[in-house]
Amino acid sequence: MAVTGAQKRVIVVGGGLAGLAGTVRLVESGLKVDLFSVVPVKRSHSVCAQGGINACNEVARQQGYSEYEHFDETIYGGDFLADQHPVLEMANWAPKIIDLLDRMGVPFNRTSEGYRDLRLFGGSLFKRTHFAGATTGQQLLYAMDEQVRRHEAAGDVTKYEHWEFLSPIIHDGRCVGIVAQDIRTMQIRAFRAEAVVMATGGCGLIYGKSTNSVMCNGAAAARCYREGAYYANAEMIQVHPTAIPGADKLRLMSESARGEGGRVWVPAIKRADGTWGPHPRSGQDPKSIPDNERYYFLEEKYPKYGNIVPRDIATREIFDICVNQGMGVGNQNQVYLDLTHRDKDYLQRKLEGILEIYEKFVGEDPYTTPMRIFPAVHYSMGGLWTKFVKGTYNPPKPLPKHVSGKRAPINAEVGQGMAYGDPANAMTNIDGLYAFGEVNFAYHGANRLGANALLSCIFDGLFCGVGVANYVRDGAPSKAPSKDLPQGAYDGAVERETARMKKLISAVDLGKAADEATNPYVIGRELGVEMTEACTVVRTGPRLEQCLQRLGDLRARYNRLTLADAGGWTNQSLSYARALGDMLDLSDAVARGALERKESRGAHYRPDYKDRNDAEFMKTTLARRESDGSAHVEFIPIDASLVEPTARTYGKKDDSKPAPTPPTPGSTGVPSRPVPTTVGSGV
C-alpha cells in the first residue's frame, strides 16, 4: 500500500483480460501497478468468453490467409465503422499474442502432431480461431491472472480486489488518480497515480438480462463519461444470436457450436411457391420432424457462409423467423441449434464446456436433442472514445481491393497500423486516462466478429500498455509527478463521492423497502425491459423517442429512490443503487445514438432507414454527457484510409426479398469473397 517514492505507479481499473494484460506489460516497463477490481480478478467477465481467439496461423496462411485478411474481415464484419489503422495493427499482432499465450501455458487444443488446433468461426472462410475447449476466455484470463499473481508475489502489483471505482481524479485536465471504495468496509479514499487505465468491460446489464456477468453494468465507464470522457458508438450493441433463455441471465451458447457444425432450423412446411410456413407440430419432439420439414433458414439464405454468418445477421434472421414470421419453435421466441448429427466424442472434446452449461441450466441433453436458443445482448462495440496514432502504412488511392485467399498487399510488420509506443494510443480525451478492452470503442465498428474480443483485450494490454509507460516516462507525469500535486485535488474528489453516497444512504427507508416505485432493483428491472424492447435487434425512431421519454421517467423515480440498507458494511444495495444512476446515463447515450443514427449498419438496424448511409453515417457517434445526464450526440469522421467500403452481404442468396442488411446499389455482393476450395463452406 505504501507508495514507494522512487517507482512510479499506474492504476489499472478492472482485472479482466485487458486489465491483466496491461498490468503485466506495465510492470515489465518498470512501473508499479495498483490493480482495482470489484471482484477477485480471476472472476472477471472474460471467463465467459467461450469460442476462441482469432489469429492468422501457418496452416491458414498456406491456404492463402493472412493477417491482412483478418484485418479486412474485421473491418467488413464491423460494417466499415471502425477506424481502420488500429484494426490493422491488432490483426498483425494476433499471431504474436497466440504465441505468447501458448508460452504462458494456455491449454490450446492440439492436433495429433502437437500443434495448436483451429476451428472455423463466424465471418471467415478460413480456420483461424484458436481455442481451449469451449472456455477459451477462462483459460486466457487464468494465464494472465497467473502472471499477475507472479508479479504480485514479487511485490510489483498491489491488488485492490473488492474495491469499486467511483471516479477518475482530474487535475489540470489530466487524470492523476482515482477515488475508490472498499465495498466491504465502505471506506472511500483517493489513490494517486501517474496514469489510469480503465479496463472495465461492457455494459450489458443496462439490458437487465444479457449474456454478461452481474458486474458488467458499465458504471465505471459511465463515471468517466460523467467526468468528461467521450463515449463513442454507444448504440452499437451486439446481440448474440444463440443464447439460452434463463430467469436470471441469458447464458451464451458459443458461436463455436455453429463453427463445429451446428445447424440452425425451425420446424416448417414448405409451400408450393417455395416459401416456408409455420409447422403444425412445432414445439413437439424435434426428432419427430422429418428433414424436409426442417427449415434451415441460414443455410438457405446464405449458401456460402451458411450457419456461420456473422452475429448481427444470424440474430436478425432468427428474430425475423420468430417475431415476424411466427415460425419460432412452439411459436415461442426460440429456434433449434442442432448438433445431434455430430459425433458425441467429437463434441465432447471440442464443446463439452458449453454443452454442459446447456444441460445444467435447461435440463436437456444437447447431444441427443436440439438446443433451443434465442438472441441475447452480448457485447458493446461502443465504449469510451480513444485516440490512436496512425502507423506507417498509407496506401495510395485507389485503395487496394483484397480478394480473399489472395496475396495481401502488405506484410505484418509492427507499427504499420498504429505507431508503436505512442502515448496517445488508447488514451481517452482526458490526458492520462486510458481505456483498454471492451470498455473502449476502437476495433469492432458496428459489429464484432466472433473470437475477436479476446484478441482486442490482450492487444490493448500489450500494445497500448507500452504507450502508457511512455506517457508516464516522457509525458506530463515526468514534469509534475502525482505525488507533488496538491492534496486538495484528491480530498475534493473524495468529498464529492462521499456526498453522493450520503445522499443515497439518506434515502434509506426500511418501511418503503418493498415500494416498487422507488426500489432500485425494480427500477433496474424496468430499465432492462425497456432497453431490450427499444434498443436491440430492431430499432425504430418512434420507439426510441418513447424509450428516451421512459428513461426520463425512470430517472425521476431514481431521484426519489429509497434504499433498504443503511449499513456501513458491505452495503450491496448502495453499490447497486449508485450504479443504477450510471446505467441510466449510458442507456440514454445508447438510445440517443440509436435515434440519431438514421441508417442501418452492423448491429444497428432501423427498419425506417434500412440502408447503410456511408455519406452521412460512416462516422463515429460521439456522446458527451449533459449536466442532466442526457447525452449530446454528434458524428465525427473515421479513418477509412485503408479499405474502401463495400456492401456487406456475406453472399446472401435471395436479394429480391428484404434483407436484414441490404446491399448497397450496384454491388453484387459476392465477387470479392470466393470460397477457398480447401476449407469449404463450413456447414
Binding site: 504480485e152 508475489a153 514479487a154 511485490g155 498491489t158
Partner: protein
Amino acid sequence: MSSAETTKPQSFFEKNHLLLRRLHSLTGIVPIGVFLIAHLVTNSSILWGKVGMRQAGHDMTMVQGGVTYFQKEVQWINEQVPHLLLIEIILWTALAYHSILGFYYARTGRTNVTSYAYQSNWRYTLQRISGYIGILFIIYHIGTLRWGWTFLVPGGATWSHEFAASTLALALRGGEDFTAAGVAVSLFYLICVSLLVFHFANGLWTAAITWGLTISQSAQKRWGYVCAGLGAGLMLAAWSAVVGFATLSPAQARDFEKKYHEKYGGPAAVEKLGKPATGPSMNPSTSAVRESVPVQGQ
C-alpha cells in the same frame, strides 16, 4: 500482504514435515501392519490349527488341533524367534510413533459426514475413530495380557504363553464359563479388532495415494479391491480368533495343552528343536498352570 518469499524459521516438525508424515504412513504398514497380519493369522489358528497339525502328521479334533497348533506357534514365537526383544522394541516404538502422530494428525481435521455422507468420507471418519479406539484397545490388550493388569480382566486371569489358548479363553470369557462381563470383553475384542483391521486395510489404500502408487481413479479403485480383499481376509481371521477363543472351553484347552507339554513340552520340546532354552520364558510349565488355574469360582 505477506510475500510468498518470506521465510520464517521453521520448527523441527515443520522442517521434517514430510519425513514425519511418511514415517507415520510407513510404520502403519511395516512393522505394524505386518505384525497385525502375523498376529491374526497365528491367533486364528485356533480354528484352523487342525489342518496345520494334520499336515504335520497329527490327526486331531478341531479343538485339540487348534489348541495344539496355537500353542506350538506361540511357543515358537516366544522361544525361538531370534532377536525377539529387538523386534519388540521396534514394534513398540513404531506403535507409539504411529499412535501419537496419528492422534495429532487426526486432530487437524474436522469430520463432516453429516453433510457429506460419501462412502470415502465415512472411511475417513472411521479411520480416525478406529485409530482412537485402537490405541485404547491395544493398551488394554497388552496391559491385561502382558503386564498383568488383572484388575481389568473379569475373572482376573493372567495370560501365559505356555498355556496360551486356555488362558486367553479365560480372559475372554471372564472365567471357565461365560460371564456377562466376559461377553462384554469378547464383544469389545470383536469390535476393536474389526476396527483395527479396517484401519489397516483402509490405511493401506490411502497410503497408496499418499505415496503416489495409485494415481488414476481406476487404479485407486483396483487397489481398493485389493485392500478390501485383504481386509476381508484379515477380518475373517480376526473374527475366527475372537470367536474361536471366546467359545473355547478353558478346561478342555488346558487338557490339550498339558498333553502338548507332556509330549513335546518344556525343555523336551526345545531340545527336540535343538536349541538351548533361555530367557524368562522358561518358567516351569507347572508354575504357569498353577498361576492360571485357580480362577475365581463361579
